[in-house]
Subunit: 322 residues, 4 copies
Amino acid sequence: MVKEAIQYIRENYRTRKVDADPGFGLGQMSGARFIGKDGRSNAQRVGVPIWERIDIFHSLINMSWTKFLTIVMVGYLVVNFLFACIYWLIGADAMAGIEQVEGFSWFADAYFFSAQTLTTVGYGRISPVGFASSSVAAFESLLGLLGFAVFTGLLYGRFSKPNSKLIYSPSALIAPYREITAFMLQVANPKMNELIEIEAMMIVSMFDKKQNKRIYATVSLERDKILFLSFSWTIVHPIDENSPLVGLTVADMPEADPEFMVIIKAFDETRSQHIFWRTSYKYPEIVWGAKFLPMSLTINEKGQSLYDISKLGSYTEAKLPY
Amino acid sequence: MVKEAIQYIRENYRTRKVDADPGFGLGQMSGARFIGKDGRSNAQRVGVPIWERIDIFHSLINMSWTKFLTIVMVGYLVVNFLFACIYWLIGADAMAGIEQVEGFSWFADAYFFSAQTLTTVGYGRISPVGFASSSVAAFESLLGLLGFAVFTGLLYGRFSKPNSKLIYSPSALIAPYREITAFMLQVANPKMNELIEIEAMMIVSMFDKKQNKRIYATVSLERDKILFLSFSWTIVHPIDENSPLVGLTVADMPEADPEFMVIIKAFDETRSQHIFWRTSYKYPEIVWGAKFLPMSLTINEKGQSLYDISKLGSYTEAKLPY
Amino acid sequence: MVKEAIQYIRENYRTRKVDADPGFGLGQMSGARFIGKDGRSNAQRVGVPIWERIDIFHSLINMSWTKFLTIVMVGYLVVNFLFACIYWLIGADAMAGIEQVEGFSWFADAYFFSAQTLTTVGYGRISPVGFASSSVAAFESLLGLLGFAVFTGLLYGRFSKPNSKLIYSPSALIAPYREITAFMLQVANPKMNELIEIEAMMIVSMFDKKQNKRIYATVSLERDKILFLSFSWTIVHPIDENSPLVGLTVADMPEADPEFMVIIKAFDETRSQHIFWRTSYKYPEIVWGAKFLPMSLTINEKGQSLYDISKLGSYTEAKLPY
Amino acid sequence: MVKEAIQYIRENYRTRKVDADPGFGLGQMSGARFIGKDGRSNAQRVGVPIWERIDIFHSLINMSWTKFLTIVMVGYLVVNFLFACIYWLIGADAMAGIEQVEGFSWFADAYFFSAQTLTTVGYGRISPVGFASSSVAAFESLLGLLGFAVFTGLLYGRFSKPNSKLIYSPSALIAPYREITAFMLQVANPKMNELIEIEAMMIVSMFDKKQNKRIYATVSLERDKILFLSFSWTIVHPIDENSPLVGLTVADMPEADPEFMVIIKAFDETRSQHIFWRTSYKYPEIVWGAKFLPMSLTINEKGQSLYDISKLGSYTEAKLPY
């Protein structure tokens, strides 16, 4: 039956009933996951030089903390080293407060003077005398202010950026739904920050053997927006006559190799900004003939409703209508 | 008649006419207030470890000023203490300007030197000499810059975050409205900042004895958006044939135990960001057979219209049509 | 004919065809302008204590530069004075580098030491000795960092906030429009920054003698959104059968005393944020029987289209269809 | 046939079927490009004084790095010079630590003391003594904090602002599309940052010989929004019976001199803000009778789909249906 379903998309794509081509270009693709479980796209762009592809701000905001702090530390050491060399070249006569003007000791003094200038701590035990070293020091303190503006800004940007990771049900289900079936998954927010106006979108991609390429369709959801995500949200795509999945059976899975891509958008109240998440489900994570267990809340002594997020996605067997 | 109303929601939920399940999961809940008067949800998520639940930025932005400033002070004292210990271990020989190299006095000097380094004030009466103490001081001043970047950023974030508290009418009314009745409440903005494009949404939750669980429905409003909130806004849910409340009487209140959750969204012109408020009304705050008094404005000598916000929610008795 | 028009609004208000009550509460109002030419509302809220009404961030961002800088200067002087008093009380023995320990000279030294600590400049000619003065100085430098975080943040916030002032046509016109008439005004952006996705909304308020109160209606526009505002935009409200103004003549103006409130929203590309403007037109600024002159562009040697903004709102007499 | 097409727009403009006048004012314009390939508008506004036209923040954020850093450097040098003059006027007696009180050497000391104060580095080898110089220094360090707040804020603003440049197909095509033809172009994002919810709008402008002016119309797109831009997006305007281009042939190009203006909007996930791009296509860049080659992806050893962006816009000849 996979052929009929795919035929359906193809026909509808021509007649514009199905909303195909969502930025994927309808190109050839392997059966590999297009969007990883963690939301990263497996798409790579080549053919442009690295300096047109790179986005330094993006990299510095999204790299690991280890990498970021290493860059800050190494940068600090290197810039101090470069200025230390300049002070060393100008000579110890241009510095007041140097005790030993020879060898490593004097270079170390130049180095730490540089650090004291760059951070504007400026103890003054060592201080520049004369035009040359004073000019360099005046420039270095300006550079320190400008450079730390960027790095402390980035640090705060990293610290304040949304770190919410949604929790998804490990499996998506093909569950009975009214008289028909539906594709269902569950999401929850483990974080204590409030998510508001949560929206979901779903795109399904299937392999079309005849055309020897992957095809794509945005599918409709029972609800595509909720006001807030207090506990969990069951996202439901009813497999009705308008669904590209209509007629598909579990036996068609290996051939069609469907990927359900889920995009979720919410407003983070604390940060006053929109956040997006992405994930995907492929065949082995899709359970046919099951339904999610109803959410079980317990009430504590303060009258609060407790929801055990570790039970998200628990399901039980359920007979499909056909 | 509560049964009919609840039956209505249940039926409509199946036929998708009523917009149920707004993120509440349709789970069992006590009769406790779901959203507090101050907008806090009573939902708690358990079953995830604390480090996955915590959102440090959210906590530091939303905690009380007392707590935040205590954290800053204690952190400052502790970090200085730790660095003082390091300088103390390196020894007084590595510091210029120390007068007494023994006992408490030398530790205090190390401590205050640390504070002068961390804040980059760097008087220089005491200053590091030699590789070990200079290196530690160079690192400490870097740490000071990075650390204060986060905390001064948080301080400004806390200072500039929206602090608008909407004022709600103490009671919501079941009032006569055209030929039928309507659920009405009033809101006003006591602050001098301008709120623009105010939107309201309302969710009603009632207890369904038969199913032994709470059910939820988003209800329609006469107006769900106004352009600005100059004086007050009366939010009106007409109890027409599409309302889940149709047919409910005051006698049904204890059994149905309805909670009216109100979500309001506005654009804060000064901060260029959206703000959300939430509140709720439960039975004792809902007055049957009353109407709000018309807003009374007085004109002052400058021609300005004065609105007395303390009169918000004043009402008088009114006969309901049935 | 004013009665018919007002009757129309009143009827439509009841039958919900006209979109009344846009946050004004339908209360009694004087004939004074509700929104000033500069967009300030003449609404004032009373009946709440000042500390619930004030929004410090809003005040500090929107006050004049003179006032803001005065607050910064006076605050700086006062905080330094307070700390100077503390150092003075602790005594000159607790300070190294004091030359004259008596009278004004020592107080001045304490004062400038305080300034050097608060700004973290820390020359160190004067420096704290001993526990008491060192502790105060350590606290003052922390306070300086935190305090300047707020004030330099505010300074940048003020500097970067949108300063676009739209230019409006001095007069609005009742102009011939197809077979009927229309209310028209023009806006332009004199600034070099690009405004995108400009939206306009219009509310008309008229005095209803019978009810002895002002009534309000949001009116429809020929276009309510344009993609960008390169030259000028003529905002047009067609006075068709759905307009509350239908049937009104120039003779009705004094009695109806209409106020046309215009709200404009745009996205400022440079600041990545939405901006709102408001203005209003009252009778003497509304010209009956005129039309705007077509926009005249000149092309310069670089092929650029030059638009003379000083001609915005130029109009000529035009016969109305009735 | 150009006349028919233009007649169509004119008629529809009157009957409001075509969405004309998108902020261009329908004025006379040369055949010059209205929006450059790089998205800059060729519109210039004159007739307002420079101080009402300038937007300092906009200028400082968008100027070249060379210009910005030159302004910072020159500003730093000039401010230090001015303060050096003040210290010089007050005299060397008011400074501790001056060795040579005559000539250039003393002025240089005053100059570098100023730099050390402005940046708050404050070594203290030279330090103010007495009321006059101490007051000026206290004021200068305050000024330094405030001034650097603005410039380091601007620096971070420049560093973090979106730098995405979309890549457009060099040519737009008039391609066969179902039974009719369509205007097509392609866009891709060469940067590694993720663009979400990409929207496109298209405005066509043509010269109307009869009226001797340019006319404008917003045209419909097959899709005007995609969820994300993984590879490339083919933006398609079907030339159906509602298109103002219907009936136009390649022979009409010189006379009609059409300009296709494309506005693209997306949400930049890293920066949590909307970005806008603009470009345009004029006749020589519009190829009649061609179609884009299908996007060719290669799969690398990690299973990633590689898309060669340098092939964007590759096309082959294609016979048009008429």
